[in-house]
């Protein structure tokens, strides 16, 4: 690996005046410029391929700041990574060291030559010489069964979407995402490079407690998936925060969720971004409307080129991952475009996302994206969120049915029939009849996966 003169993350920290908070601890970012969270063992990690396997997001954040430019490769293990995949992942990453928490139990799951504990107690330390490695950042993909793919990014690509403009007032970022996933990592980097603070969620923290902490720290910028947001909007604690900027990414932001957020936070600007682990951040949309202007495609914006082929969005940009490690798979086509697998539909002068290529439901030969039906159901004023899923049918192979969460929680006794009828009418008016759910059930909640995306059990 070539030694380079590039600036490491630690060197690029704006002024370090911000803090990182989780439920249990707080760290002043500036303390890391002349200190260490590794108990004097940073040197042992120089030039290594290091797996970050800490339990908390806070220690992951500290390890990333300290190790960029020092380690040869950083593989970030997401919290829901399965222990049965560790051996394959470690081999794929050619890993020889692991970062854990002080209280991580000694077990055989992390059998690597070097094991270093990271903690939020920063002690003063002499620094290693300036960055020596163009560290590879390895992120794991989500949504597949089997061993996740490992995707290689460079810090320069990860930070390319981040505008370096000084904020008028102090910024406190919050994210419902985990920073060990691409969407959350973007927010972590925005906070650290922008001299802002960041409120991290803690494992199994109830949403109301998380919102309480966000309020206490005066969150100004808050990010999550549409599913995260729909959930947060159901918590009375949402009224305690008043962010200036609200950001959605990671799933389709339909008009209903954008409108709900505008109503909840009239003072905030609401933006949705398109990004994926492989393709990176492609664009942001700030006009409050679902989808994006068709003019974005076939024109290069901020170095990002997009095209639509076989119905799906393809992206070529300096922000995309460079390759996979550990598997023999190709990330881009011959022209350098990543196929996102997200299906677009042109409506007027905007493209809207119809769903995932892999998530198609086949109804007697007619193809349906569950997301487009959910977008219609979510327009009903009493609906908070919905999940459309296939149900086996002896006649058409599948039909679609819908699970619906109401804003009020449970429907009143007399209400259920009326609301069901209203939703079905909405669907019948907007959709061809094979896309109208054959049955609607009201449910108290819908599962959101560790990735922040609605858990879809099929496909």
């Amino acid at each position: 690996m070539a030694r380079i003169e590039a600036q490491s993350l630690r060197q690029r920290i704006a002024d370090g005046s911000g803090f990182l908070w989780d439920r249990a601890a707080r760290v002043r970012i500036a303390d890391l410029i002349g200190g260490t969270s590794f108990d004097g063992r940073l040197e042992q990690l120089a030039g290594r391929s290091v797996v970050i396997a800490t339990g908390s997001q806070l220690t992951t954040a500290l390890a990333l700041i300290e190790l960029d430019g020092v380690a040869r490769r950083l593989t970030i293990l997401p919290p829901d990574a399965e222990a049965s995949h560790f051996a394959a992942l470690f081999a794929g990453a050619d890993a020889d060291a692991v970062i854990v928490d002080r209280d991580t139990p000694e077990n055989a799951a992390f059998e690597l030559p070097i094991r270093v504990a990271c903690s939020a107690d920063i002690v003063a330390a002499e620094r290693l010489p300036a960055a020596t490695f163009a560290t590879e950042w390895v992120l794991l993909t989500s949504g597949t069964t089997g061993v996740p793919k490992m995707v290689v990014h460079a810090l320069s690509g990860l930070t390319a979407p981040i505008a370096r403009k000084p904020a008028d007032a102090p910024v406190v970022w919050g994210t419902f995402y985990d920073i060990r996933r691409y969407g959350g990592l973007q927010i972590f980097l925005r906070a650290v490079l922008g001299g802002a603070s960041l409120v991290l969620s803690s494992a199994s923290e109830p949403i109301a407690d998380h919102l309480d902490r966000l309020a206490r720290h005066g969150v100004t910028h808050l990010s999550g998936t549409p599913s995260h947001w729909r959930r947060a909007l159901m918590s009375p604690a949402i009224r305690k925060i008043s962010p200036r900027y609200v950001r959605l990414s990671g799933e389709i932001a339909d008009q209903a969720v954008l409108d709900s957020l505008r109503n909840a936070f009239p003072q905030a600007s609401v933006g949705h971004a398109y990004a994926s682990t492989e393709a990176g951040v492609a664009f942001e949309v700030n006009d409050g409307l679902a989808g994006f202007p068709a003019s974005y495609v076939e024109q290069v914006r901020d170095g990002v080129a997009m095209k639509v082929e076989d119905g799906s969005l393809r992206i070529r940009s300096p922000r995309t991952a460079s390759r996979y490690v550990g598997i023999d798979a190709v990330l881009t086509d011959k022209d350098g475009f990543v196929d996102t697998g997200d299906i677009l539909e042109l409506r007027g002068d905007r493209y809207v996302f119809a769903g995932r290529r892999g998530g198609i439901i086949n109804i007697g030969g007619l193809k349906v994206h569950p997301e487009e039906i959910e977008a219609v159901i979510n327009q009903h004023p009493q609906v908070r969120m919905s999940l459309v899923r296939p149900k086996a049918s002896p006649i058409t192979g599948s039909i679609v049915i819908a699970d619906v969460v109401l804003k009020s929680g449970e429907p009143g006794a007399g209400d259920a029939v009326d609301v069901k009828g209203d939703i079905l009418k909405l669907c019948r008016d907007a959709l061809p009849r094979h896309k109208v759910p054959a049955a609607i059930s009201f449910v108290p909640t819908l599962d959101v996966a560790a990735t922040g995306k609605l858990a879809r059990r099929h496909g």
């Binding site: 149900k391 086996a392 049918s393 002896p394 006649i395 058409t396 009849r433 054959a438 049955a439």
Partner: protein, 81 residues
């Protein structure tokens, strides 16, 4: 409501929703001539599961789809017992 009446009710409802004209539901009516198409029957089976708590076709691998309305009702009446 009896199983038969529930089925008749749902068939009328689905025909209305799908803009189809439903033939008079006599026991010897061939289902293919009822006015509902395959999507209509797929929806019917799903709704009946909702209302009656059974899906006799998916529950049993080798259940044959009935030919007449009377047979269809019988499948549900047997399943409901």
């Amino acid at each position: 409501m009896s199983v038969k009446l529930t089925i008749m009710d749902q068939m009328a409802e689905i025909a209305r929703e799908h803009g189809k004209i439903l033939a008079p539901l006599r026991d010897d009516l061939v289902l293919l001539d009822s006015g509902l198409d395959s999507l209509g029957f797929a929806v019917l089976v799903a709704r009946l599961e909702d209302q009656l708590g059974i899906d006799p076709f998916t529950a049993s691998e080798d259940a044959l789809f009935p030919v007449t309305f009377g047979d269809f009702v019988k499948v549900y009446e047997n399943g409901a017992h």
